[in-house]
């Protein structure tokens, strides 16, 4: 299974995502430059963390206009797996591929900390290999990770089982402790914690691997079905 890692100017977790896939998941990965108009033959794309275009104006607000995002939209519309982590989540929310928005942390400060979250659904290509309620230890590193949406959207997300992860330690003030959400078709997911930073024992946790393993197993199953 081939993963594409999008590189926006200012992405800085691109190498980390690449390393997690290539080294710790053991699958091929390649970088996709932000001005590409196609994604090539990848089976899934990752929008990594960082400060795309400096995150000037608003996190992810400029990245959504980059050429590669048209290709990502099409890929998503065709059912491709799109994972946004941290800044990647912010970009997907800005691009309207996911509902809601990420605003300044409740404490107004950047927070880098390992915290606990629970798997809220296993009905997704990103959590299928986890157990419902399973507790994961993953780091966060963001200044603007407080998830918000209007009440109706939040109710809808819950009714449709589209909350992927919830914080047990809600450090940024996210509404209803939401750490990760799915789109309606369940093939696009955004999360603020960094699964790629928890993929080998030396990183202090391997709990993030389950996200990538779920993507891998989902893809392998779909190949078999096809």
């Amino acid at each position: 299974m081939k993963f594409g890692v999008i590189v926006f100017p200012g992405s800085n977790c691109d190498h980390d995502a690449f390393y997690a896939i290539a080294n710790n998941l053991g699958q091929p990965a390649e970088f996709i430059w932000h001005d590409s108009t196609t994604l090539g033959d990848v089976d899934a794309v990752i929008l990594p963390g960082g400060f795309s275009y400096g995150d000037y104006l608003r996190c992810g607000a400029i990245a959504k206009f980059s050429p590669v995002m048209a290709a990502v939209r099409k890929f998503a519309a065709d059912g491709g797996l799109v994972l946004g982590v941290c800044n990647g989540f912010q970009i997907l929310a800005e691009a309207g591929l996911l509902p809601g928005a990420l605003i300044r942390n409740r404490g107004l400060k950047f927070i880098c900390r390992e915290l606990r979250l629970s798997v809220a659904t296993t009905n997704s290509p990103y959590t299928s290999e986890a157990q419902k309620g399973q507790v994961l230890r993953l780091p966060i590193a963001h200044g603007e990770g407080c998830y918000i949406a209007d009440e109706r959207t939040l109710d809808e997300l819950e009714a449709e089982d589209r909350v992927a992860f919830r914080y047990i330690d809600n450090a940024n003030g996210s509404l209803r402790h939401i750490a990760g959400v799915l789109n309606r078709e369940r093939n696009v997911m955004g999360m603020m914690p960094h699964p790629e930073r928890a993929t080998e024992p030396l990183m202090g946790s391997t709990d993030g691997l389950v996200v990538f393993q779920s993507m891998l197993q989902t893809t392998l199953r779909s190949v078999v079905l096809a």
């Binding site: 950047f110 790629e196 030396l202």
Partner: protein, 738 residues
């Protein structure tokens, strides 16, 4: 050409009449106004080290792993496996006082460029910070604002750039009121054959400018950093540059990619003294001339004079020399990253820096004389200021109540409020969490080697004895590395002192350099570069002499030994023993500072030979996998170190009993060096190793499920609930900041 400048204009440029005469002698004529500015900035204390160079020569700079010592943008050490690390520390003290957020941010930006201009990708940053007291009724609010601004600035720049800020230190003293210290250390890695030098070569080769456009910001920043502060200093805010970490990130990626084309001959960042410094230094190192046309320099403001363009310290700019005929390969890379690049001149064979503006020559100066023949002063020095030697300790010392007081003191409390604002994990190489280990460790994925690093500097110690204080800093830094199992291999220093024109301040500088020099020689950690920051005085009040040392060590990549106790029922060993202390040597401690509220006497006594043996022993113990936890004793001594060992996730505690004649408060809180607390399931093997190194290693107690107790020959000195101690330790800084 032009007439002589008036004494006022010369004085404004901080040149002495003698220095001005030297300019005239070098040129064989009166300088132009642009030339005057160029000389002023290159011969400023900040750029020329004119007061310190004589003494800096005493520092050891060579070693078998040293690939590049002082004189380049950063020092370089061979780490094996075909890879090298580049590292250096720099100060940004004066700008951080004037505009804390941007001052600190551009400090980070400057040191990062020093690293990647050598071809190395930055993989770690640490910072050493000093502020005035946060709780002072008069200066407290300002000090809190400076602290918040500096931390936000470091976070803003490092987080966005994508380099982990993995550790550091932060101390508060009244002497840093109005003169905070912001010292930033950065470290990068690259393959040995990919190192680049800031050297121009090849007559006729194009000189290329890359990055941000030049504006009027930061003009005379280097000269500002070379003067004392006065009431007018606040008006110098326009002299502080504004940082753009996003631009720097693009510059990093573009430079590293452009270097791979093989078309770059030499490269240097534009830091202090901007275009002036980069052109003349590259020319001087390559023994060539450089001619530039200022009309071609990308500018963000109109109507800039040659003087302004040459002296601007606008950030995120690089100067490089490319192979003639291969410019397009370089331009293509910068275009890909959306960066402006312009050919602004050529390398010449006449050894001169020639600057044209609209075609006319506005400056023509021999590079070597400008860059390397700056005035050199052997300034007179007497003896460092004497502190009181005597102090009568208060009666009724109470170890029980002193410990929580010390743990919640600003110097010793958890700095979580600071380090959680830094992304310390990006690049997934950081093997440590701040405050969980004595040194930060960053792995090099390509080689299976890890680099441990630590910063240390104790102004109280150095004030009482500059020589011993500097030695203690080196010893502690090496000890921090040894505790995590790394072998110290090289160092960088940042010397923060007051006005060198005062003989007693100059004496502090000289003695500190000599002390550091001796210790670095002893531990075989040559100094490969660094920075001197003088004139750290505001309204006549000088700072404590504050030499900060950064040392790097090498180790095999493995899960690190951390500070907290892991299991109950383990033996607690005090490697190095209870140590010795007396009233005089107790005056520099945190206990003296917080409980007695005094500073007197001398710093703790250091026996270098014993220190080395303790370090050899702990490295062997750690390498053998015998230490379940390890933590060195430093600020706050034994009791504070023991408490920190109890702050693990399970709050495993300890009960210890010491056989010692020391007064209870001294036993608990003296800061005698060369001591390490270990918990182990294998006390006999640990004792065996210690004995072979001739080091005491008494088993002082055991870890227990809950609670912490210290006894002296059976008498309880204190017994504490760990959660309560931890609350004091964890919550203090945030409470102080509010």
């Amino acid at each position: 050409m032009s007439a002589a400048f008036s004494p006022e204009v010369i004085a404004q440029h901080q040149l002495t009449p003698g220095e001005y005469q030297k300019v005239v002698d070098i040129l064989g004529r009166q300088p132009t106004y642009t030339e005057l500015g160029i000389f002023a900035v290159m011969w400023s204390e900040h750029c020329s080290y004119k007061s310190s160079r004589v003494h800096l020569k005493k520092l050891p700079t060579r070693g078998k792993l040293v690939v590049q010592g002082p004189g380049e943008n950063a020092g370089i050490i061979d780490i094996g496996g075909g890879y090298v690390i580049a590292f250096k520390i720099e100060s940004h003290n004066h700008p951080s006082f004037i505009e804390p957020l941007q001052g600190a941010a551009t400090g980070v930006g400057g040191i990062l460029r020093d690293i990647f201009t050598m071809g190395a990708r930055p993989i770690a940053v640490m910072d050493s910070l000093r502020f005035g007291r946060l709780d002072d009724s008069v200066t407290g609010p300002r000090n809190r604002r400076i602290l918040s601004g500096v931390v936000a600035g470091i976070a803003h720049y490092g987080n966005c750039f994508g380099v982990p800020t993995v550790g550091g230190e932060c101390i508060f003293e009244p002497c840093y009121d109005g003169n905070p210290l912001v010292n930033v250390f950065a470290l990068g890695v690259c393959r040995k054959e990919d190192v680049f030098y800031a050297k121009a070569a090849g007559v006729g080769n194009p000189v290329i400018y890359v990055g941000a456009r030049t504006g009027r910001d930061g003009i005379h920043g280097a000269s500002m950093a070379s003067a004392e502060f006065t009431e007018e200093s606040k008006q110098k805010r326009p002299n502080v540059q504004v940082g753009d970490p996003f631009m720097e990130k693009l510059l990093l990626e573009a430079c590293i990619e452009a270097m791979k084309t093989g078309a770059i001959v030499g490269i240097q960042d534009m830091g202090a003294a901007g275009l002036t410094c980069s052109t003349c230094e590259m020319g001087s190192r390559g023994e060539v001339g450089i001619e530039i046309e200022l009309d071609r320099v990308p500018q963000r403001e109109t109507g800039m004079t040659p003087y302004e363009v040459m002296l601007s310290e606008s950030q995120e700019r690089m100067l490089l020399v490319a192979d003639k005929g291969r410019e397009d390969e370089v331009f293509r890379v910068f275009k890909k990253w959306g960066l402006e690049a312009a050919e602004i001149g050529i390398v010449t064979n006449d050894g001169k820096l020639r600057v044209r503006h609209h075609g006319e020559i506005v400056a023509e100066i021999p590079n070597r004389e400008l860059a390397d023949e700056a005035p050199l002063y052997n300034r007179p020095y007497t003896a460092p200021p004497e502190a009181t030697r005597e102090h009568v300790l208060s009666a009724g010392a109470n170890v029980q109540s002193a410990l929580p007081a010390l743990l919640s003191a600003p110097d010793m409390c958890s700095k979580r409020w600071i380090w959680e604002q830094y992304d310390f994990q990006v690049r997934t190489n950081t093997l440590t969490i701040p405050e969980q280990t004595d040194a930060a460790i960053v792995r090099v994925k390509e080689t299976g080697t890890s680099v441990a690093m630590s910063l240390d500097g104790n102004g109280r110690y150095t004030y009482l004895s500059p020589r011993e204080g500097a030695q203690l800093a080196v010893a502690e830094c090496c000890r921090n590395l040894s505790v995590v199992g790394a072998l110290p291999v090289a160092a960088t220093n940042c010397l923060n002192f007051g006005n060198p024109e005062r003989p007693e301040i100059m004496a502090q500088l000289v003695e500190a350099i000599e002390g550091m020099s001796d210790a670095c020689r002893f531990f075989d950690t040559p100094i490969t570069g660094g920075n001197v920051s003088l004139y750290n005085e505001t309204l006549g009040g000088g700072i404590y002499p504050t030499p900060v040392i950064g040392i790097v060590g090498l180790m095999k990549t493995a899960a690190p030994v951390t500070i907290p106790f892991k299991n109950a029922g383990r033996s607690v060993i005090l490697l190095g023993g209870a140590g010795a202390c007396d009233d005089v040597r107790f005056g520099s401690t945190q206990y003296a500072k917080e409980i007695e509220q005094q500073l007197w006497g001398l710093p703790p006594a250091l026996d270098l030979d014993r220190e080395k043996r303790v370090q050899e022993a702990i490295r062997e113990i750690v390498a053998a996998g015998l230490a379940e936890s390890a933590h060195d004793l430093s600020d706050g001594g034994l009791a504070v170190a023991l408490a920190e060992c109890c702050f693990g996730p399970d709050e495993i505690g300890a009960q210890i009993d010491l056989d010692s004649d020391l007064r209870p408060e001294m036993l608990a809180f003296h800061e005698g060096p060369s001591r390490i607390l270990i918990s182990t399931a294998h006390p006999k093997q640990v004792a065996g190793i210690a004995e072979r190194h001739g080091v005491e290693a008494p088993v002082v107690g055991a870890t227990i499920e809950t609670g912490m107790e210290i006894r002296q020959r059976g008498n309880t000195l204190g017994s504490w609930d760990i959660a309560a101690l931890r609350a004091a330790y964890e919550g203090a800084l945030e409470a102080h900041v509010r």
